[in-house]
Each structure stands twice: as structure tokens, then as C-alpha cells.
């Protein structure tokens, strides 16, 4: 075989090998979706959404309380995390000099990379210990610590794509800095910011580790924000680890519901963002 043929063969072989790598990288998603679709859909019924869990041994029941609980936790996370996140992002993009943004960005980056179980320990130390018991508040706080740096980073990024000439147009009319931000800059970046918040919420919606010793679990409806509360991810973990077929069945159903929610938000947001970015580039 002469040299040129050899080089062509290597080229062809490596193209096929890397293509197979890419294919292999996609298959896990298809497998996960496939199994969840088959196992999950067959386990899903109306009771899942409307009934409370039943004690071991009885069949039936649902996860209504866990669905509501997840909603409560996300609401708390949003209340604690979104306002400082958006305002902080505004600071970084609109007011920042060099020093403060540098350290804040670094901290945000670091905080995002912290394993979520460690965030759980942190929330346990600063909320559960002083309160003396597990609570929805502690769980919401833990999730907000994960949410905060993501929202800060996203907000800053989207505001940075707002062109300088928009700001100048407003400033040149004698509008103040804050007025310009509120009535021109933020509206121009609003869709991106909201999508970013939604993505961040989707991310924390699936977090389990930080809830293990903060929100903990509750077999009934939570009686208040300072009481333990159940959540979908926790129930999935709890039921999947158990030894009962009926619970396994419900774990599949819950996993399907959680995944469908998270993926749906992801797909929609990415489409919106892609369109937005394309429009920005065209303008």
C-alpha cells in the first residue's frame, strides 16, 4: 500500500471512529428516555398526581404531596435566589469596575462547582441547626445557594449582549443610570434573563443531595414552611432504594415526571435563546 492510500485509509477510519464516539455519546440519552418512557408511563396514573403516599404493604397512592413540596421548595429558592441574583448580575454588567466584579465572578464560578451535597451540609449548618429541625425553609435555602450564582452569571451575560448604543441613547436624553437600566437595558435583555432563571430553576428542580438533610421528607402534606416537606427527587431516591415493587413502580413514574419537566424547560429555553441570539447577530 503506498503512502497516499495509507493516509486516505487513516482518514476514513478515524472519521468512522469519531462518528461512532458521537453516536455513543448520544445513546445514553436515548436509553434513559426509552426506559423512562416504557417503565414510567406504564406506572403513571391519575392517583400519582392526586393521592398521598400509602404505608408500606398497601398498593396505590401517589405523590401529590411531593409534587406540591417540590413546588414549595422551588418557590422558596426563587424568592431567596432570584432577586439578589438578578440585581447582582445588573451590578456586574452595568455598575462594575474591575475589582469587585472579578471577585464576584470568581466566587460565582466557584460556588457553581461546589458539589451539591456540600451545599446541603452548609444549609444544615446555618438553617437546620439553629432551627433545631428539618424544614422547607432549609431546603429552599440550600437550593437558592445553587440558584444564586447561576442567575448572577446568566443575568450578567444577557445584559452584556444589550448593545452599548441603547444605553447611550437613553443617557444622552438625560436619563439617569438606574432609569436607563430599568427602562431600556433590562427590557432589552428581559427574555434572556427570564429564560436563564427558568433554566436555573430546572437545574435545581432535580437536585436531591442538598435536600437529604434540609427539607428531608414528609409522608403527608407539609403543615408549614418551617416543617419538613417532601419533594419529587427525594421520593425518587427513597422509593428506588426500597424493596417494594409498588414503590419501584412509583419511582419510575416520578422520575418520568421530573425528567419530562426538566427536559421540556431545557428544550424550550434553548430554542428561545437560540432564536434570540440569532436575531441579535442579525441586528
Amino acid at each position: 500500500m503506498n503512502r497516499l492510500t495509507w493516509r486516505r485509509v487513516v482518514n476514513a477510519v478515524m472519521s468512522v471512529v469519531t462518528a461512532l464516539c458521537a453516536l455513543t455519546a448520544v445513546t445514553p440519552l436515548l436509553f434513559v428516555l426509552g426506559f423512562l418512557a416504557v417503565k414510567g408511563v406504564s406506572s403513571l396514573n391519575w392517583a400519582f398526581f392526586t393521592k398521598l403516599p400509602v404505608p408500606i404493604g398497601e398498593t396505590g397512592g401517589g405523590m401529590a404531596n411531593a409534587i406540591v413540596g417540590s413546588g414549595q421548595l422551588l418557590l422558596l429558592a426563587a424568592i431567596f435566589g432570584v432577586p439578589p441574583g438578578v440585581l447582582g448580575g445588573i451590578y456586574l454588567s452595568e455598575f462594575g469596575g474591575w475589582t469587585v466584579p472579578f471577585f464576584v465572578r470568581y466566587a460565582a464560578d466557584l460556588l457553581v462547582s461546589v458539589p451539591s451535597i456540600v451545599i446541603g451540609i452548609f444549609a444544615y449548618a446555618v438553617v437546620v441547626l439553629p432551627m433545631g429541625h428539618f424544614s422547607a425553609l432549609a431546603g429552599g435555602f440550600a437550593l437558592s445557594v445553587i440558584l444564586l450564582p447561576i442567575v448572577v452569571t446568566n443575568t450578567e451575560q444577557f445584559l452584556r449582549t444589550v448593545p452599548v448604543w441603547l444605553r447611550e441613547g437613553s443617557l444622552a436624553l438625560g436619563a439617569g443610570h438606574w432609569k436607563t437600566i430599568v427602562s431600556v437595558v433590562v427590557p432589552a435583555g428581559l427574555q434572556g434573563i427570564l429564560t436563564g432563571i427558568l433554566l436555573a430553576l430546572a437545574r435545581v428542580a432535580g437536585e436531591t443531595a442538598p435536600l437529604l438533610f434540609t427539607a428531608f421528607n414528609n409522608a403527608y402534606w407539609a403543615r408549614g414552611w418551617n416543617q419538613p416537606v417532601s419533594s419529587l427527587p427525594f421520593m425518587i431516591y427513597y422509593y428506588a432504594q426500597s424493596a417494594y415493587d409498588d414503590w419501584h413502580r412509583q419511582a419510575w413514574a416520578a422520575a418520568l415526571v421530573l425528567l419530562a419537566l426538566v427536559l421540556l424547560i431545557n428544550i424550550l429555553s434553548r430554542l428561545v435563546l437560540a432564536r434570540k441570539m440569532a436575531a441579535r447577530r442579525a441586528a
Partner: protein, 329 residues
Amino acid sequence: MATSNTVLAGGLPRKPRERWRWLGGTRGVDSIAWLVTLIAALSVLAVTVWLVVELWQRSKLPRDKFGFSFLVDRVWDPVFGHFGALPFVYGTLVTSALAMIIAVPLGVGAAIFLAELAPRRLSDTLTFLIELLAAVPSVVFGVVGIFVVVPWVRTSFGPFLKSLFGFTPLFQGPIYGVGFLTAGLVLAIMVLPFIVSISREVLLSVPVELREGALALGSTHWESTWKVVMPTARTGILGSIFLALARALGETMAVTMVIGNDPKIMASLFAPGYSIAAVIANEFTEATGELFRQSLIELGLVLFGVTVVLHALARLLVQATAQKAKGAA
């Protein structure tokens, strides 16, 4: 042109609002807004510092009692209050190493295909799907792990490996299904999207001129990729690997659900083990006694330290490549 006038006769007094400079050079509402947003931004910094302080202070007992030997002692005995973290460190390292061995070649290969060889549309679609994989919650991987991967390893994949490599100590002993191997497999799937998507970006940031230069000299597509593009992108790809490693080390739920949760150090990959994150997840709520709980918090601190260092390194590497690519353009 007028040369003098009354207004300017004595020179205008200049007062550049020095009083407000410390407030960012703005007034009134703007100053308040500046202050409020500054506080919001600083909250990120504050939470980070607070987290480190809490972890440090609340893990004082085991640090004083065991010192550095905490990490290399292999006995974890809550009953007698003796805590050595070696089994967890070992489990974490073995599963992460296994995950990287599987995910790195696959991920880099896929990234090369997506960035260099695939048509744009196909590349975008596949990347979209692979990035969706990153959005799948960890506990969902755990469910699939428990009910699908564990039985598969026990009945098919494990025996297959045993028949091939049974002579090495790595593949001996009974196959439970749960264990290092299964955890490593699940972790590999979980970190794969990070390697693919960051490596692809790094590769795409290599300027087109370099590729064209190589092609113009008569290189094949693969040669231009392997000999010209890859060397430029190498540090950035290394960065993506570090990032994936950081995730693998700190991953909790999926590993907890498939590793077997047995604090033993075994050579066989079929054996059940334990990881740092898994032991915190399992034992934290049951930790009676201050030393027990603080030992778990110290494990959290270790996890934190390692991921932070890896993450910082990864960032530096990715940035270095971006700069190099810019310089080459």
C-alpha cells in the same frame, strides 16, 4: 474667533462632584441603586466565604483528633468513634478514574467529530442532544442505574469481563451488580456531556485559517485535525477533562444508589465500595455525636477543596487555549 469673554474671564470653577465619587460617581436614585446591586453582587462572595468558614469551623474536632491521618486511615467506626476516610477516598478515586477512562476517549472523539468532521446541522443537532443529557437530574441516572445498569452488569457485562480479564485482580470475585464498576459506568455517562460540549467549543475556537493552511499543504482532513488543530486545542481539552473530573468526584446521588455502600478497599472492580459523597448522603442524618457529624463535614470540606482546585485549573486551561487561539488568528 472670540478670544476672551466675561464668563470665562476668571476661569470656570471646576467641581467634578468629588463628594459622590466614592459612591460610584452617581447621585440620588443612582447611588441607591448602585449600593443595592452592589450588596446583591457581594452576597455571592459572602455566601462563598460563609460556606468555607462553616465547613472549616464545624470540622474542627476530627482535624484536631486525627490530623492528616484522617485521610489515610482505613477504619471508619462510628460505634467506637474512630474515623478514617481512606475507604471513601479510595472509592471516590477509583470510580472517578474509571469514569474518566471511559468518558475521555469517547468524549474527545465525539467532540472531534462534531467540531471538525460532521456537517453543521448534524453537529448542532447531536450537540443539542448531548447537552440535554447534562440536564438530566442525577437521581434519574440513579434510578436507571439501579434498575437497568446494575442487573445488566450482574448478568451480562460483569461475567463477560470476567471471562476476558478474570486472571487480573481487577475482575475477580462475586459480581453483585452494585460496585465500583457500575458506579464508574454511570459516572462516565454523566460527565460525558461536559467533555463533549466544552471540547467542541475549544476545537471550534481554533481559527479556520490554521485548518485551511494544513489542507492547502495537502493534508487529509484527519491530518489537519490531529496534527494542527488538536495541538492548539490540547490545553483547553485538558481543561474540559478536569472539569468533568471535578463533577465526577462530587457526584452524589447516582453513585450512592449504585456503589453498594460498603466501606471496604477491594482491588476488584466488581466489589461494592463507598464514596465520600455517598457516605455523607447516607450517614449525615444518622450521625449521632459531634465527632461523627464533624467527621462527615470534614469529608465535605475535602470534597470542596478538591473540586475547587480542579475547577480553577480547568478554567485556567480553557482560558489559556482561548487566548492562544486568538493569538493564532
